[in-house]
């Protein structure tokens, strides 16, 4: 039981950052950012590489920076080269695979031996449960900063860019700039998540990003279905709650082995299909029944 609660909170908080990032790209900017998987691994590789060389704290900042850079590139592809957003994300994602290997010296993984991590530093200072407390503090810090930022002049411009493109194009907002800043922010949050996961697991793996974007979206949607999404604060809360619920299911399945944990990705795919497709399904059913009644 305790194990389940612990894993749920650890992973829910750390991966909650990915959902928070997707809230920015998918909900605010209205862009399905498929570079998310690669950016997550990028953050992980950068973070573990710096920790490997004895700089676990700097590692997290570098992870954030690397994500911002990656998001900027994806956004440039979309705005200046006018590559469709989905394709832009895939291009960055593909390129990142090599970059990530390079960071790990062309090996498919990099493990920490006795090096310190941000978690072990806290444990050594006598703080128990650092793997919950640290992610919680980071989530609170990042979401507070994001919340405040979205209320600033720049934040409002970014929100408008995703909300009404026509309006923004005819306004004094430079839609290219806001898209770039928005995606840089989203991806820096994603790579921070990857960076934390890397140090938490004490290893970075080139394949650990598979499905991150889909799971993150599923969490976002689960959260939104529980909390109404009529204010930024609730939106942010929804990302965390969705992520925690998802990780609870994950932990229960992992513990009880009702079915092999590998099944979870298939189930996730189902969850997200149903959640996003539900409005259309509902519409079809309603129009069908109306048609029948009419006939």
């Amino acid at each position: 039981m305790l194990f389940i609660v612990q894993t749920t909170l650890q992973l829910g908080l750390i991966y909650g950052l990915v959902s928070l990032a997707l809230f920015v790209s998918y909900r605010i900017l209205n862009i399905a950012d498929l570079s998310t998987d690669g950016t997550f691994v990028l953050g992980m590789c950068v973070s573990v590489a710096f920790a490997y060389n004895g700089h676990p704290i700097l590692a997290l900042f570098m992870a954030i920076l690397s994500g911002a850079l990656s998001g900027t590139i994806t956004a440039y592809l979309q705005t200046y080269l006018e590559i469709p957003s989905i394709l832009a994300g895939i291009i960055t994602n593909t390129g990142l695979y090599t970059i990530n290997l390079m960071i790990m010296n062309y090996s498919s993984n990099l493990a920490l031996l006795k090096q310190e991590t941000v978690f072990s530093i806290l444990e050594n200072k006598g703080i128990n449960n650092s793997s919950i407390i640290l992610p919680a503090l980071i989530f609170i810090l990042i979401s507070t900063l994001l919340y405040l930022f979205l209320k600033t002049r720049l934040g409002l411009s970014i929100r408008a860019t995703g909300d009404n493109t026509d309006m923004v194009l005819a306004s004094s907002i430079d839609a290219r700039k806001t898209t770039i800043i928005g995606l840089a922010i989203a991806n820096s949050i994603t790579s921070l998540s990857g960076g934390l996961v890397g140090q938490f697991q004490r290893t970075a793996d080139i394949n650990s990003g598979t499905g991150v974007v889909v799971i993150g979206l599923a969490c976002l949607i689960i959260g939104e279905s529980i909390i109404s999404k009529d204010s930024i604060l609730k939106n942010i809360l929804a990302t965390l709650i969705g992520s925690i619920i998802y990780r609870l299911l994950y932990a229960i399945i992992l513990r009880t082995r009702i079915f092999p944990i590998e099944f979870l990705k298939l189930i996730t795919a189902f969850i997200i299909t149903i959640a996003i497709g539900l409005p259309s399904i509902r519409k079809t059913i309603i129009s069908n029944t109306k048609e029948k009644r009419h006939a």
């Binding site: 720049l154 409002l156 929100r159 408008a160 909300d163 009404n164 309006m167 005819a170 907002i173 430079d174």
Partner: protein
């Protein structure tokens, strides 16, 4: 104020589908002019606005706004000086943001003294309330309402407020009441007239409503096939009938617009 010289615009230049949409347009707009523009479908009215605002670039000629050559300036930079309203009331505001946030976006545009990280202050809110009250649409206590929940007329009125909350050097109205029912159209039109004359805004308005074209503004332009065929001082006693007559005399055909309104109300 606004000086357009020898402006030309082709679509599909150098292809078999080449069309000349603006044909050597010359126009001098004085400060505080309120000009109405009428013309057949496809005459090039919206294209002229698009060239002035920068959503499309002219092929040749020049556009000078208040001594700045803006012919090839980026659209978002021109928007600091030019306010725009479109036919579609949904185009001018962000539906998932609140009234206050939409107004803040519009308001911050002209104020370069604030940095990117400034937020809406309480004095901003008081100012917005004041402005909303002037619209007379009972929106002054709905600062936190999402814009997506407003009616078409309310949204167009809000867009008007957003376009003028920082007084623009030029206001471009492209059939901005055409999608509204007659009563709402009248309300929005009266508001427009009120705001434009109170702030002495230089304004160009495309309309298919001949009555509006005569009733508002001080100058009437008629466009046909990319050219300005008539430029009337709206002080003479113009009626819809002699407007139609003069159009026919200039172009040899009837004014043909699918949305034309000839009614006198």
């Amino acid at each position: 104020m606004l000086k357009i010289s020898n402006l030309n615009k082709y679509f599909n230049l150098n292809t078999i589908n080449e069309v000349k949409v603006l044909d050597n347009i010359n126009l001098n707009v004085n400060k505080a002019d309120f000009i109405t523009i009428i013309g057949s479908n496809g005459a090039g009215k919206s294209t002229l606005f698009n060239c002035i605002a920068g959503s499309i670039l002219a092929d040749s000629g020049s556009i000078i706004l208040d001594q700045n050559d803006i012919t090839y300036k980026k659209e978002y930079l021109r928007s600091k000086m030019i306010g725009r309203l479109f036919q579609n009331p949904l185009q001018g505001s962000a539906p998932n943001m609140t009234i206050e946030e939409n107004l803040a976006l519009a308001y911050l545009r002209g104020d370069s003294s604030r940095n990117s990280f400034s937020m809406i202050t309480n004095s901003d809110r008081l100012f917005f309330k004041e402005k909303l009250k002037e619209l007379n649409l009972n929106l002054d206590n709905s600062l936190n309402q999402k814009v997506g929940t407003l009616s078409g007329g309310q949204r167009q009125a809000l867009s008007l407020l957003m376009a003028t909350i920082v007084t623009p050097k030029l206001l471009l109205l492209d059939e901005h009441t055409a999608a509204l029912d007659p009563q709402t159209a009248k309300t929005v039109m009266d508001l427009t007239d009120d705001i434009v004359s109170k702030n002495k805004i230089t304004c160009l308005m495309i309309t298919h409503n001949l009555n509006h074209a005569i009733k508002y503004g001080n100058r009437i332009l008629m466009m046909e096939k990319g050219r300005i065929v008539l430029d009337l001082d709206n002080k003479e006693n113009i009626t819809i009938d002699n407007l139609l007559d003069r159009f026919k005399k200039e172009t040899g055909k009837l004014l043909d617009n699918d949305r034309i309104l000839l009614s006198s109300e």
